[in-house]
């Protein structure tokens, strides 16, 4: 079976050229089957039951945590399940943020997704912090040369995307970590766009928090992970209150459980976690050297093709170094929605808009871009269909 054949939606819709994996990836049968097996043979609530279904459900749920930890070379105590990247970042903004004092500084960048901007603005307003942003270069990369200028002794946290969901640029985390370490700041990485592109040793990055979503990495929606360095998690108060995150509750007061339970209030998304665990196992079985090469080749094909279309301007690195296959472009003055709509007529699924990165759009004075994402199941035909569709878009919209 080819990799593409493992994706039921792609098989059943051969005319579809799905280039919108940056928004949500497609999902392989292995993941769907794991979820269905849970729902039809193990379904129960976790942790609190001793009957055999509850045992099976707990085993599957905690087994998923093990699978995820293994895939990211982490330990299971560091894997906090959340509903996604957004929830993971908000968790840190509240729980880590509870330890910050007025005047403390947080550094983000101009390239960030709203999920990595708004929680920090809200925290700034709650606690009287200072929020600073690293600028973005003309090439669409975070300008790390500005670190020297932006970081101060008051910097407590740098929150930054591993890969941009607009330009595809990959950030040099080692430089960010070094700069943060120099002033004693923690580092949070928004890994939403990085994790779909292969295994990663998260602890080796030297960062403190790493957030990602399942739905962009071949798993269900509604599940994600906050990886946190153990000492950081242990030092943090809980965020949400409820069942499962407690040690002991009286009407007056509550003692909290250790991490990761402390941060997992309420019945978790059990099937989602099981799906994410299955996605990690599925990914672990792939040949990522070959896939990375193929993704690179297709990204090159796309960039080359775009370079030949008059009026097209790419927002982001034009080369293949330090980038993933997330490619944004403008077609003359055409609105990206109109471009995406015409591409859709060719079966090409692209995203058009601001990609939840309005500050980046403002930086380049754009309404938005049209974005194509290269995934492991992408084929040359998908890229070519996009280029053909663009030809029509030019005719109609120019």
């Amino acid at each position: 079976m080819t990799l593409r054949e493992q994706f039921p939606l792609l098989v059943s819709d051969p005319g579809l050229h799905y280039l919108d994996s940056g928004a949500s990836s497609q999902v392989p049968a292995a993941v769907l089957d794991a979820v269905r097996t849970f729902e039809t043979t193990q379904r129960a609530n976790v942790h609190r039951g001793v009957h055999r279904l509850a045992e099976a459900a707990t085993g599957a749920y905690e087994g998923a945590r093990d699978d995820i930890a293994r895939f990211f070379s982490a330990s299971r105590e560091e894997i906090v399940f959340t509903s996604g990247t957004t929830a993971a970042i908000n968790l840190v903004a509240h729980s880590f943020g509870a330890g910050l004092a007025p005047g403390d500084e947080i550094v983000i960048s101009e390239i960030e997704h709203h999920s990595n901007i708004v929680p920090w603005q809200m925290l700034r307003d709650r606690r009287g912090l200072v929020l600073k942003a690293l600028p973005v270069t003309d090439e669409g990369r975070i300008d790390l040369d500005a670190l020297d200028r932006v970081m101060t002794k008051r910097t407590r946290l740098v929150a930054i995307a591993h890969c941009s969901n607009v330009t595809g640029a990959v950030v040099d985390l080692a430089r960010v970590v070094a700069a943060a370490k120099a002033v004693g700041a923690a580092v949070l990485v928004d890994g939403a766009q990085r994790v779909p592109h292969g295994p990663l040793d998260i602890p080796a990055l030297g960062v403190d928090f790493y957030a990602f979503s399942g739905h962009k990495m071949y798993a269900p929606h509604g599940i994600g992970v906050l990886w946190g360095r153990r000492d950081r998690l242990e030092a943090m108060p809980p965020f949400l209150g409820g069942g499962d995150m407690i040690r002991r509750v009286t009407l007056e007061t509550t003692e909290y459980a250790p991490p990761p339970a402390r941060f997992e209030a309420g019945t978790p998304n059990i099937s989602g976690a099981i799906g994410l665990g299955a996605a990690c196992r599925w990914m672990a079985g792939l040949d990522w050297t070959a896939i990375a090469l193929e993704e690179l080749r297709l990204t090159g094909r796309l960039l080359d093709g775009l370079a030949k279309v008059p009026d097209v301007r790419v927002l982001g690195p034009l080369g293949l170094q330090q980038r993933i296959g997330v490619v944004s472009f403008m077609l003359g003055d055409a609105h990206p929605h109109d471009v995406a709509q015409i591409l859709d007529r060719h079966g090409v699924a692209c995203r058009g808009g601001h990609h939840c990165a309005q500050p980046l759009m403002d930086r380049f004075d754009l309404m938005g871009t049209t974005r194509a994402t290269i995934a492991p199941y992408t084929e040359a035909a998908d890229v070519d269909a996009l280029l053909v569709g663009l030809d029509e878009a030019r005719r109609v919209l120019a």
């Binding site: 609105h335 990206p336 929605h337 109109d338 709509q341 015409i342 058009g352 808009g353 601001h354 309005q358 759009m361 309404m367 938005g368 109609v396 919209l397």
Partner: protein
Amino acid sequence: MSDELYQEALLKLAKEAPRKGRLEPNDASARLDNPLCGDRVRIDLRLKDGRIADLAHEVRGCLLCQAAAGVIGRRAVGLDRQGVADLCGEVDRVLAGETPAVAELEAFRPVARHRSRHDCVRLPFQALKEAVDVK
């Protein structure tokens, strides 16, 4: 009728929209954003006896949004509050797939099938409504 979105009539509405720009001074003005796509519309009005005497529209958005502003540029002068409400009602009807009473709206019929684009068409009309309602 073809279900093709980008027909000649629609493109023409967008490209040849009268009354583009700003109106200064004005009696009423409304700015609306579509948070999902980032489209932005501004409508400036001059009013006389409760009717729109002059207007201008500034659109930073897609062709559907521009074409909708084009309809406003052609049709809205002379309308009172009720007339604007009626026009908005016609827009809703065409987006529900019905035949509109306003000829220019005909060009929007294919949009009915594309729910994600309905707001693109509605945005300028909503801004127009806000502007007359403010006053």
